[in-house]
Amino acid sequence: MSTTATVPSNARIIPCLDVDEGRVVKGVNFVDLTDAGDPVELAARYDQQGADEVVFLDITASSDQRETTLELVHRTAEEVFIPFTIGGGIRTVDDARRLLRAGADKVSVNTAAVNRPELVAEIADEFGSQCAVASIDARRTNGGSFPFEIFTHGGRAPTGIDAIEYAIRVAELGAGEILLTSMDRDGTRDGFDLELTRAVVDVTNVPVIASGGVGTLDHLVEGVLEGKADAVLAASIFHFGEHTVAEAKLHMAAAGIPIRPADA
């Protein structure tokens, strides 16, 4: 499938929160928070700043803690009035159902879908494509038989799977969106891997969220204008108070990108 879309989407800015056993993992540096470790309070803050969506990445290792994650989703649905996605540890349609019933808008599947891509189709058929996000963690192969390889388990485990072929596959299976993270860039603050982003955008016709490497507001602009991403995800530049989402939106709008104003 090749892309035929000629009408650009209005860009979205999506702060991402890593959550472990119901708490935000990486330090977050907002001065006036009651509880800087509470993902719900942070998500509500991003909602107020004009974020278009929020993503929670649940890195809770133990499945015993599943109730904690459900509780987080439950509380978020009461406090946050923008869409939110939860990813991490979703292996079955029942896992997805519980999270959606609790109030999540989308579920993001990663390792389980790499192992068994049909999971994407099962979730899309049951709940609709709009809530089925396929998360892809990719690295450059630097001279392999294909350019980008999928890694799982937080970017540590190589799979031998061609990330571009996989993106085509999950889009055909009914993924409503692709969350694409460059594991080469993640945490570097060097900017998105724009070639990776563009490569996936060019072969799919579903929205693509660029992720991994944002260190400046210009990186967000590049992700949309050069990477052609529909949405840009970032963590540290927002968490550490360097920039607000509102500043990021002004910067993107000034670069000519159509986007919902923060004060709309």
Binding site: T6, V7, N10, R12, G128, Q130, V206
Partner: protein, 208 residues
């Protein structure tokens, strides 16, 4: 102010809870329910939803909520469909050929046309064609859309958005209204629309 009882029809698919919680936030006694008595007592009825036309319509039939929805729409109470809840009001959809919709509104829901990504998954700006109390304060607001199909263009399209051409964003007249966007996920403007709806339900409750 009284908290009008609003029945949020629970047919069991996807995230219906957010609609209930946001209506509560805007002053309603909102219940996520499939209970006939409760729905009959409600001052307003909401048909929320995410998902595909076929499975959602099947779930409505299985729970008997299809009849409840028709009754509520017919008896003049404020009624609000959201997203797939808008599309279910029509006679059918290109998404599920052969599956009958609720038939409360005439016509067939159609695939988004033009060279656009499907789904439309973004915030988009509302253009109000026909002002109404429900849309008070909403013109030019930004709201969150996620859909691949849309209502047919007709006189009952009260507001539009632009996505490769005009797309029906709000339809309705009289007591039956529906939004293609998700007001419960559209920050302040979305909550404003729900507040407008809650106010209508409150007025209806006083009249009843």
């Amino acid at each position: 102010m009284t908290r009008p009882l609003i029945a949020v029809l629970d047919y069991g698919i996807g995230n219906l809870r957010s609609a209930q919680k946001s209506l509560e936030r805007m002053g309603a006694d909102a219940r996520l329910t499939a209970d006939t008595g409760l729905i009959a007592d409600a001052s307003g009825v909401v048909l929320p939803g995410v998902g595909a036309f076929g499975p959602c319509m099947a779930a409505l039939r299985d729970t008997g909520l299809d009849e409840q929805a028709r009754t509520a729409a017919a008896d003049g109470r404020p009624f609000l469909g959201i997203c797939i809840g808008l599309q279910l009001l029509y006679e059918g959809s290109e998404e599920a050929p052969g599956v009958a919709g609720l038939g409360i509104l005439p016509g067939t829901v159609q695939l988004l046309s033009g060279n656009v990504k499907r789904p439309q998954m973004q915030w988009n700006r509302l253009e109000v064609r026909t002002p109404s109390p429900l849309l008070e304060g909403l013109d030019h607001s930004w709201l969150y859309f996620v859909h691949s199909y849309a209502a047919p263009m007709a006189d009952n399209v009260a507001a539009l958005c632009d996505y490769g051409g005009p797309v029906a964003a709000v339809v309705g007249d009289g007591n039956v209204w529906a939004t293609q966007f998700h007001p419960e996920k559209s920050a302040r403007p979305g909550l404003r629309l729900l507040e407008n709806f809650v106010n209508q339900a409150r007025t209806a409750a006083v009249r009843a």
